[in-house]
């Protein structure tokens, strides 16, 4: 029967995981074993089309095996769909930096990152940057981190401010766009511009995630077939109610999961 071992197609007559490991010269001691996205330490039965990855701890794999190992915990169908998709993240602050890293870890094939600003100290309370990134453009700082997490993601950076005049051109190759701006006018501009001018675009926007109000007040709402909004809808950032990492990250995770569900053609919320 046909199986895949460490990303490579293989033919075997073995009926269990460990016997297949032995046949293909893979160790099972001091090894992380993953079958169809699920980690196991048991010698389970295997069947046609199983995807198996043996990761020897502490060993640097060769380049061919590396991508298979990075994606081993993904459910096979999910990984293929993610790999073949492209997502734009507009705004790389508390929402966008988190969304982009989550999507990179999920194995999205192409990430289009848009932001005009540089990393400064007040960003570090909630945004995925470090001291070493201070002064760098957010696009560059985030790309550097994505390359450390998953070097097989194709990252396209546009260090630009999104305005009415460049909106159509900037997003012309994107069919899934995350609105992750801070400014409410910028949010409305992007959402209205894309939805008025493009019938083929999905937009996952955000509104309301400041403070330390209840986690469960943050939801994903489906407004039209192609427009989703995450957040609590009301809690704006203002004096006395700052933006804090936990709720901003919850909202970012709502957006990232909404994107993943769109990619997998699960359109309900």
């Amino acid at each position: 029967m046909k199986i895949k071992i460490n990303g490579k197609k293989a033919e075997t007559n073995q009926s269990t995981l460990f016997s297949a490991a032995a046949e293909f010269g893979c160790k099972t001691q001091n090894t992380v074993t993953i079958i169809n996205g699920f980690q196991t330490s048991k010698d389970v039965d295997i069947k046609e089309n199983d995807e198996i990855v043996f990761i020897e701890k502490g060993k640097i794999p060769d380049k061919d095996e590396f991508e298979a190992m990075l994606s081993a915990r993904h459910t096979p169908r999910v990984y293929e769909a993610a790999k073949n998709s492209r997502v734009a993240v507009a705004g790389l602050g508390g929402l966008g930096s988190n969304i982009a890293l989550m999507l990179a870890r999920t194995g999205i094939g192409t990430l289009h990152l848009i932001d005009f600003d540089v990393v400064e100290p007040s960003n570090l309370n909630r945004q995925q940057y470090m001291i070493s990134h201070l002064g760098l453009y957010k696009t560059d700082a985030l790309k550097e981190q994505i390359m450390q997490i998953n070097p097989y993601v194709n990252v396209i950076c546009d260090c630009e401010k999104v305005e009415e005049k460049n909106c159509t051109e900037l997003f012309k190759d994107d069919e899934i766009v995350c609105e992750a701006f801070d400014n409410p006018e910028a949010k409305a501009l992007l959402v209205n511009n894309l939805l008025e001018n493009r019938s083929d675009v999905f937009i996952v926007a955000s509104s309301g995630m400041a403070g330390y109000e209840k986690s469960n007040s943050i939801t994903t709402k489906k407004i039209t077939d192609r427009f989703y909004v995450c957040g609590d809808g009301t809690n704006e950032a203002k004096q006395g109610r700052g933006l804090m990492s936990p709720r901003v990250t919850i909202c970012a995770a709502h957006q990232a999961n909404a994107v993943l569900r769109i990619i997998l053609k699960e359109f309900d919320v």
């Binding site: 400014n183 409410p184 409305a188 209205n192 955000s206 407004i223 809808g233 704006e236 933006l243």
Partner: protein, 64 residues
């Protein structure tokens, strides 16, 4: 009856612009869905909501 953001309003017509100003909603910070479609911003002023319409006004607040 007109349904706006899940709230049923016992009227047969309302001017969208009046609803927005009564609820302190700024046109530059919202997106409006009318019966499943996005309403272009250029139509906000002329749009009359009528009996049976289902409307969602998404209000964007600052923060991200």
């Amino acid at each position: 009856m007109i349904c706006i953001n899940g709230v049923k309003i016992e009227k047969t017509s309302i001017k969208l612009s009046e609803y927005l100003s009564e609820n302190n909603l700024s046109a530059s910070r919202i997106a409006v869905e009318l019966n499943g479609e996005i309403l272009p911003k250029s139509k906000y002023d002329e749009t009359m909501l009528k009996d049976g319409d289902v409307v969602e006004v998404v209000n964007f607040v600052g923060g991200g």
